[in-house]
C-alpha cells in the first residue's frame, strides 16, 4: 500500500531519546507521575513522548513502574531500553526496576524507603517525608518526585511540568501540588550544589 525508499534521518528516535523510569508501590501514583511527565513533554513542551506502564494484577500494592521515552522526533520502540533516569519510591520497586541504568545515568531513591546498602550510587532524598512535611499528605510524594526529577535533569522545562501538574490536579488541590513541586525543585537545587 505504502512504499517508502529512505536512507535519511537515521538518528531520529535512536540517539536522541531520553528514557525515564518511575517506580513505586501500587498506589504511590508513579503511573500518574509518568503520564504527567509525558504531558509536560508533549502538550506543554512541544516534544514527542511515549508513556507506558507495567503493574501486577493487584489493585493496590505490588511494585509498579511507569516509563516515559522523550524525544524531539519519532519514537519507535516504545519502552525503555536502558534508562537515563530512574526514580524509585519503594525497596521492592527499586529491586525490581532499579538495577539497570545507563552509565552516567541518574538514580533517585526515597532515602527512607530504599536501603543505602543496595543503592550506594543513588541520590537519596526523603521524598515521602518531604511530601508530608510540605503538604501534610504523603500522596503528594509523586509530585515532589517530579520536582526532583525535572530539577536535576531538565528533561522538560519547569513551566511545562507546572502546567501539566496543575492541569491534572483535582480542583482545590492546585496550591498543594504547587508546594509539593516547589519542594522537589528546592531539594534538587541543594543536591546540584553538592554535586562535584
Amino acid at each position: 500500500m505504502t512504499v517508502i525508499r529512505s536512507d535519511d534521518n537515521l538518528e531520529a528516535g535512536i540517539a536522541d531519546r531520553t528514557e525515564v523510569r518511575l517506580a513505586g508501590e501500587g498506589g504511590q501514583g508513579m503511573i500518574l507521575a509518568g503520564i504527567i511527565l509525558a504531558e509536560a513533554a508533549t502538550i506543554y513542551g512541544g516534544q514527542n513522548a511515549v508513556q507506558s506502564q507495567s503493574y501486577g494484577p493487584e489493585a493496590r500494592g505490588g511494585a509498579s513502574k511507569s516509563e516515559v521515552v522523550i524525544s524531539p522526533g519519532e519514537i519507535d520502540h516504545p519502552e525503555v531500553l536502558l534508562p537515563d533516569v530512574v526514580v524509585a519510591l519503594s525497596q521492592e520497586a527499586f529491586k525490581k526496576f532499579g538495577s539497570s541504568i545507563k552509565p552516567g545515568g541518574l538514580l533517585i531513591v526515597d532515602a527512607d524507603k530504599v536501603d543505602s546498602a543496595s543503592s550506594p550510587k543513588a541520590i537519596r532524598l526523603p521524598i515521602t517525608k518531604m511530601a508530608f512535611e510540605t503538604t501534610g499528605r504523603i500522596i503528594t510524594a509523586n509530585t515532589v518526585a517530579l520536582g526532583v526529577l525535572v530539577g536535576l535533569t531538565g528533561v522538560v522545562t519547569r513551566t511545562a511540568i507546572e502546567k501539566a501538574i496543575i492541569a491534572r490536579a483535582p480542583r482545590g488541590t492546585e496550591e498543594m501540588n504547587h508546594k509539593a513541586l516547589d519542594a522537589g525543585f528546592a531539594a534538587a537545587e541543594i543536591v546540584t550544589k553538592k554535586l562535584p
Binding site: 525508499r5 503520564i35 509525558a38 508533549t42 494484577p57
Partner: protein
C-alpha cells in the same frame, strides 16, 4: 481538535464512535477494559447503547443481533474472552453480519498474565472458529493508528459483510502518545445501499463481487438467518448446487478485494539482503532495529503489516525474492513467522519470538542478522 496524550484503548473507543458505532456489548477484561469504560461514558451521549453482558459469549451474540437490527456494533475483549467469542464469530462469518471485535492481546494461554503483553492470538484470530471462513484482522502499531484502524475495521466489515478483528496488543492498548484526532465529520465509511425492492431482495444472493447488500430487519425486507448452510434467501439447504456456490463466494470474497483490504508499509533500501517483517507493537521494535542497522551501514528492508488476515501472500513472496533473510520479531513463538515461512521457505526466515509478557528488544532483532 487539539493534541492530547491518549491511551491506545481510548483511541479505539473514539474510533468506534467516529465510525458510527452505536452499540457496544461486552464483558470487561484487562487489558481491554478502557475501551468499555470510554464507550459506557460516550455512547449514550451520541444516542448509542452500551450493555455490560453476563459473559463474552453473550456479548458476541448481542453485537450480531444489534447489527442485524441496523446499528453498527462492536465488542472488546482479551484472550480468555476471545476464546469464548469464537463460536459466535463463526456465526457472524456464516451469516455475513458485519461486526467489529477488538482483541487487546495479553499473555496466554488461559488466564496467563492479565497485564502482560502478547501477540499470541494471531492464529486464533484466523482459525479460532471452526470451518473454512473469511476473516479480516487489523493490527495497530500506535495510538493514532488504533483510532484509524478501528474506523477501517468498521468500513471493511460493512463493505465485505464480515466480522473484523482489531488485533491490538497490551503495549499499544495501554501506551499513551500525543495524538490529534481528525474531525469526526470528515470520516466516511462504507454504508449499505440496498437498491432492490423487498419483493426481489435476497440477502445471500450470489453477486459478482461476492458481497450482496445487507438490509436490516424491521424495514420491510424478508429473509431468514441461520448458521446452517443456507440458500440465497437464507433457508437451510443441503443441495450441493446451493452449498457449493456459497462456499465459493464466501471464501473468495476477500481475495477479490485484496488491494482494498491489505494495508502495509514497505521501507525499502536498494540492495538490501535482509528484511525485518513485523506488526503491532513489535513493528516499532523492528523499525528501531532497522534504524540501528542502517546507521551501522547494513542495508535493511522493513515490511510492516497492518492487515494480518487475509495474509498478504504476494507482498511477502515478493520480499522473499529480493532478500536472503527475513527476520520476524513478534510477542509469541512464531505465529506470523509461520505464514512467512509458508511463503518463502523456512531457510530464509528467522523467528524472534518472545512469549513471557515482555517486548522483543531491538538488540534481539539485530542479533538475528548474525545467527
Amino acid at each position: 481538535m487539539s493534541v492530547k496524550l491518549m491511551q491506545g484503548n481510548d483511541a479505539i473507543g473514539w474510533g468506534a464512535i467516529a465510525a458510527g458505532c452505536r452499540f457496544y456489548a461486552g464483558y470487561p477484561i484487562t487489558p481491554s477494559t478502557e475501551v468499555a469504560e470510554i464507550l459506557s461514558r460516550e455512547l449514550p451521549k451520541v444516542g448509542g447503547k452500551f450493555i455490560q453482558m453476563e459473559d463474552e459469549i453473550a456479548s458476541m451474540a448481542a453485537i450480531i443481533g444489534a447489527r442485524i437490527g441496523g446499528l453498527k456494533s462492536m465488542t472488546a475483549t482479551s484472550g480468555p474472552g476471545f476464546s469464548l467469542m469464537q463460536e459466535n464469530i463463526g456465526y457472524a462469518a456464516m451469516t455475513e453480519i458485519p461486526c467489529v471485535v477488538v482483541d487487546v492481546q495479553r499473555l496466554g494461554p488461559s488466564t496467563g498474565q492479565p497485564t502482560a503483553a502478547s501477540q499470541g492470538d494471531v492464529m486464533q484470530a484466523r482459525w479460532g472458529t471452526h470451518g473454512d471462513h473469511p476473516i479480516i484482522a487489523l493490527s495497530p502499531t500506535s495510538v493514532r493508528q488504533a483510532f484509524d484502524l478501528t474506523v477501517k475495521a468498521f468500513d471493511l466489515s460493512e463493505k465485505y459483510r464480515t466480522p473484523v478483528i482489531l488485533l491490538a496488543d497490551e503495549i499499544v492498548g495501554h501506551m499513551r502518545e500525543p495524538v490529534d484526532l481528525p474531525d469526526f465529520k470528515t470520516i466516511k465509511i462504507f454504508e449499505q445501499n440496498v437498491t432492490e425492492s423487498p419483493a426481489t431482495y435476497k440477502a445471500f444472493r450470489n453477486t459478482e463481487d461476492g458481497v450482496p447488500p445487507l438490509a436490516p430487519f424491521g424495514v420491510g425486507y424478508r429473509y431468514h438467518i441461520t448458521a446452517l448452510f443456507h440458500d440465497e434467501v437464507g433457508f437451510p439447504t443441503q443441495r450441493l448446487d446451493e452449498v457449493d456456490p456459497w462456499v465459493e463466494r464466501v471464501n473468495s470474497k476477500l481475495e477479490k478485494h485484496l488491494d482494498d483490504i491489505s494495508l502495509f508499509e514497505e521501507d525499502i533500501q536498494d540492495g538490501a539482503r535482509v528484511a525485518f517483517l513485523s506488526y503491532g507493537a513489535s513493528a516499532r521494535t523492528a523499525r528501531h532495529a532497522m534504524k540501528v542497522a542502517r546507521k551501522q551501514g547494513t542495508k535493511v528492508d522493513l515490511l510492516t503489516l497492518f492487515t494480518i488476515w487475509p495474509f498478504p501472500e504476494d507482498v511477502v513472496e515478493a520480499l522473499g525474492d529480493r532478500v536472503d533473510r527475513i527476520i520476524v520479531p513478534e510477542m509469541n513463538l512464531g505465529q506470523l513467522a509461520y505464514e512467512v515461512e509458508r511463503m518463502v521457505g523456512r531457510k530464509k526466515v528467522r523467528r524472534v519470538g518472545r512469549a513471557n509478557g515482555e517486548m522483543v528488544t531491538p538488540q534481539m532483532v539485530l542479533d538475528a542478522m548474525e545467527a
